[in-house]
């Protein structure tokens, strides 16, 4: 059995080699501007492309002790942005407490919200809570029509997402005359790369306004990472090899230079530290001498750490690039 047979990924061009060819190796962080915290894998949805494979039966959620550690880091530093993700982070019992504490530290707080959670009886007060805490809502809505959304995120999700967006709009989110930011996230419905962010944003704005009277601030396009459930889908449908080749062919050194892991530190639900949320799922902790757990947090060592890379990194460097804030290159 040859090496390529043992690990099918060996046949692809190594990501570090691509970095070397563009004089970016070793890829290092340029600081910590975003503290991204994964509140756990518990979620009210089971989306087809979820890279963390979240769902209602997942039990891994972040503890109050780990969240206290995050607050200590924020108090001791000037990290300007806190990016909260999951699962559905709202389902964590410490969610509201943590948001209030963070907002009191005068940091920009973003919550990655699946929208439908805002309609569940236990959480229907959260839209108002987001407005009160001046939280930036980053909402997943992979398309402006029902077909793509329900296929990817589950039957009925589109209609409930529209209802939740209207609720947020009523509170002033997405209105350019308020400071309440509502940004949407698009990701492709299948094994293809996202379109131009500006072009699809214009489509979303026009269609959501005309069809539903919904407004929002910006649309972020995100490339589907070949990990988790999406990787399973690629393998099952015979698309894995061609998708990886497509990402590799679209490698853009400019996007690689601006990837989000260079200015983000990701905290896993169990306090482990990662360069990004994707590395978390692959259990690729911070390494190369940098601390890999919040209990050993050291700002100086982490602010200029070497990034841990892998084949999946091509997902963030393809075309205009991809990050939690959309494309990397204009």
């Amino acid at each position: 059995m040859n090496k390529a047979t043992e690990n099918p990924d060996c046949q692809f061009n190594n990501f570090d080699d691509a970095l070397k060819e563009s004089n970016l190796f070793p890829l290092t962080s340029t600081g910590i501007e975003v503290l991204q915290i994964n509140f756990g894998y518990l979620c009210n949805q089971t989306c087809k492309h979820c890279h963390v494979q979240a769902g209602p039966h997942r039990t891994e959620i972040i503890s109050k002790e780990t969240l206290e550690s995050c607050l200590e880091i924020l108090r001791a530093s000037e990290i300007p942005t806190v990016d909260i993700t999951g699962g559905a982070p709202e389902m964590n019992p410490h969610f509201e407490w943590f948001l209030k504490e963070t907002a009191a530290l005068q940091r920009q707080v973003m919550v990655r919200c699946n929208l439908t959670i805002l309609l569940e009886s236990k959480f229907e007060h959260l839209a108002q809570f987001y407005a009160d805490q001046r939280v930036q809502v980053i909402a997943s809505l992979p398309y402006y029509s029902k077909r793509f959304v329900d296929t990817q995120r589950g039957k009925g999700v589109f209609d409930r997402s529209i209802q939740a967006l209207k609720k947020l709009n009523t509170l002033g989110f997405g209105d350019e005359t308020t400071e309440l930011l509502l940004n949407l996230v698009y990701n492709p419905a299948g094994a293809f790369l996202p379109p131009s962010q500006a072009g699809i944003e214009a489509d979303f704005k026009r269609e959501l306004w005309q069809r539903h009277g919904i407004r929002f601030n910006h649309l972020f396009t995100i490339t589907n990472m070949p990990i988790g459930r999406f990787r399973d889908f690629l393998v099952k449908t015979g698309n894995y090899e061609s998708y990886i080749q497509r990402l590799i062919a679209a490698y853009n050194p400019q996007a690689a230079a601006g990837v989000m892991c260079r200015y983000t530190l990701s905290v896993g639900w169990d306090g482990s530290l990662y360069d990004c949320d994707f590395n978390q799922i692959l259990e690729l902790n911070c390494n190369h001498g940098a601390p890999d757990h919040i209990n050993e947090f050291d700002f100086e060592e982490l602010r200029s750490r070497q990034i841990v890379t892998g084949l999946h990194c091509y997902g963030c460097t393809a075309g205009a690039g991809s990050s939690c804030g959309g494309t990397v290159v204009e």
Binding site: S145, R147, P188, F192, P194, P195, S196, G199, I200, D203
Partner: protein
């Protein structure tokens, strides 16, 4: 050779250039330029290419421009309408030749 068309052959397209490199170079440069944003957007050009691919029934082109159209932001409803445009033109092109048939019929005194 088990079939005339294989998806693996699409990525071999550039091998065409091995036997006539200068002509391939010119074709590649022109082809690349054609699909750049111009008076028409890249999305519109991909949709035209998708429709033409169906009209000329090129499986390689259908493969390539289905993916390209999705990646330029078109959705399945828009893409199917483009295919209907191609089909309508093909169907219409056959039907309009019925006028020639009628011309011959008239000349022969059949109608």
């Amino acid at each position: 050779m088990e079939t005339y068309y294989s998806p693996d052959d699409l990525v071999k397209f550039a091998e065409i250039g091995e036997d006539a490199p200068e002509l391939w170079k010119k074709f590649s440069a022109w082809y690349g330029e054609v699909f750049q944003q111009g008076a028409l957007s890249e999305r519109e050009k991909a949709l035209i290419a998708l429709a033409v691919a169906h009209a000329v029934q090129c499986p390689y082109c259908i493969d390539a421009y289905t993916q390209a159209s999705l990646e330029k932001g078109s959705n399945p409803e828009q893409m199917m309408e483009a295919v209907h445009v191609a089909a309508a033109i093909r169907g219409g092109a056959s039907l309009v030749h019925g006028v020639q048939m009628r011309n011959v019929e008239k000349k022969l005194g059949a109608i």
